[in-house]
Amino acid sequence: MAESFGRAAPVRHGIRAYLLIVAMWVRSTLTYRASFAIMAVGNAAGSGLEFVTILLMFSHIDELGGFGLPEVALLYGSSATALGLADLLLGNVERLGARVRDGTLDVLLVRPAPVYVQVAADRFALRRIGRLLQAVVVLGWALARVPVDWTPGRVVLAAAMVVSGAAIYGALFTLGAAFQFWAQDAAQVQNSFTYGGNAMLQYPPTVFAKDLVRGVTYIIPLAFVNWLPALRLLGREDPLGLPSWVDFLGPVVAAVVCGGAALAWRAGLRGYRSTGS
């Protein structure tokens, strides 16, 4: 088969198509600069209200679940940055169900670019960068305030935490979208895992019931987004008492869930192409 000469070619081709579509949307967004600026700032302010809630809590208390404000801010900042990245880059895959319903998915299938890339890049919302920047600011503040002795290893761990966190969230967005091939109205379910996960990960694991922590470690591996690596950075034991090497598994876990999400997506698309519904 003509396409089997290399796996790298389709990937490069897909990334190129993604960048083309995104660039066009960015250009079109920037033609209304004022509107964009207002929306980006508004986006930052809107998502900042979540952090304001944490600040309000800490106006009454010094510690939550044994964690001080800078430590909670580290959890908030790392999870929100990862989610912000994933949401900016491919959050639009959640519109898949709507595309199946209104038939516009067919249009994507006749273009010479991977469908996933087109779904993810279409209507690229640059304003979401506001949310991402707000999270980065909190993360930066927290990194400067937490009592961590910054060795090169810890710097790498912190960077890997954000990148694999974004990959895990991205995989969850994709899994949710793949699910919509079968249940088109179920866009909300993925919110439980992405936005719900984010709501959870911004608080210390000590706050939650052990079973819940087990669930997001072994079943939906959200704990690898920030809890485990952040606890390692802060020199704290995790509530499940896992061996310490587990804390470094973030990238591996991210790779595994991304692989699973890719398979689910393929299965969903194959199902769609055989049923057309």
Binding site: M1, M24, S28, V107, P114
Partner: protein, 341 residues
């Protein structure tokens, strides 16, 4: 690949450009049966279709709603994977190498746009150029031709959502042709368009087919599209190919009839004794006479005018649904109930 080369016929370079053999598409649908129970049911949307289309041909593909037209187009473009049979377009299996084939074909859906809804038309075209990797001079040449023939100049800066249906369709057709496709599929390209837009679209398609040699397959509800564009027509009903040949032959085979509507001076008994025609309906002074579609209307009109007080008259072309319905009842030994429209 090798299997095709052994066949030797459909390599995309020979005269045969599109080839289908025994193509089937079966959907499993769940129907409600009572309050909670759902039963699975098989629907054979396409039920063993085979045809060949040569390079540069322009073929009309017609049939009632739900007959399987769009499903066939979706299989040809690689959107849907057939449940059985074999499809080759330019020697490529569309279901296996969708994106490779995508570069060589253009698709226009009458019901939904392939353009980017919120972007100006010219941005959509620019993106098409980059996505299909169209060389600059080819793009320029094609865009200029489309802008001129389809009168797109004033529309280029407007976001697609602001265009009227006719303008959008013209924009869509241009987008489908920017990359010099070898084949153009059009699914109901004139649906909902006004008379002028329809004429412009037809004229353009004829031009593209004649000058560029683009193979064109179009589905339509409008028999005039076929009459003005296609020498060959294929009729599908209930997922089966009922006819494949010249348009005139369709009228002959279907035994289809045209209708002469006459307004007489006053109410009279049904007109009788006109050779080749019979009166099918009387309503006050107005009467309807049916005669074979293959026959000229002139002798019928002359015969009526000679013996009855004629005020006004008009000739109605056979309705495509009628033609197909007739054909269906003739060819199927056990007529099923036609699908609800």
């Amino acid at each position: 690949m090798t299997a095709d080369q052994v066949d030797g016929q459909v390599d995309g370079n020979g005269p045969e450009f599109i080839a289908l053999e025994g193509v089937e598409k079966v959907f499993r649908v769940r129907r409600k049966a009572g309050r909670l129970r759902r039963v699975k049911q098989e629907v054979r949307a396409v039920d063993g279709i085979g045809f060949r289309i040569g390079r540069g041909e322009m073929v009309g593909y017609i049939g009632p709603n739900g007959a399987g037209k769009s499903t066939t187009i979706k299989m040809l473009t690689g959107i849907l994977v057939p449940s059985g049979g074999r499809i080759r377009v330019a020697g490529i299996d569309p279901s296996k190498e969708r994106t490779r084939l995508a570069r060589r074909m253009g698709v226009v859906f009458g019901q939904r746009t392939t353009l980017w809804w919120d972007l100006p038309l010219k941005d959509s075209y620019e993106l098409v150029r980059r996505m299909y990797r169209v060389p600059h001079d080819t793009y320029r040449k094609n865009l200029d031709r489309c802008v001129e023939l389809l009168d797109l100049g004033p529309l280029l800066d407007a976001p697609v959502r602001q265009l009227s249906l006719g303008q959008r369709m013209r924009g869509d057709i241009a987008a489908a042709l920017l990359h010099d496709p070898e084949v153009l599929y059009l699914d109901e390209p004139t649906i909902g368009l006004d008379v002028i837009s329809k004429a412009r679209v037809r004229e353009f398609l004829r031009e593209v087919n004649a000058t560029l040699g683009t193979t064109v397959l179009l589905t339509t509800h409008d028999l005039t599209d076929i009459e003005q564009l296609c020498r060959r027509v294929m009729v599908i009903d209930h997922g089966r190919l009922m006819y494949d040949g010249a348009l005139d032959g369709l009228h002959g085979i279907g035994g289809s009839e045209r209708t002469l509507v006459v307004d007489l001076e006053r109410e009279l008994p049904p007109i009788e004794g006109v050779p080749g025609a019979r009166t099918v309906k009387v309503e006050g002074p107005r009467q309807w006479l049916a005669f074979p579609a293959t026959q000229s209307a002139a002798p019928v009109v002359a015969a009526v005018a000679e013996r009855w007080p004629l005020v006004d008259l008009s000739v109605r072309e056979p309705d495509i649904e009628d033609v197909i319905a007739r054909m269906y009842t003739r060819s199927a030994p056990k007529p099923r109930t036609p699908e609800a429209r």
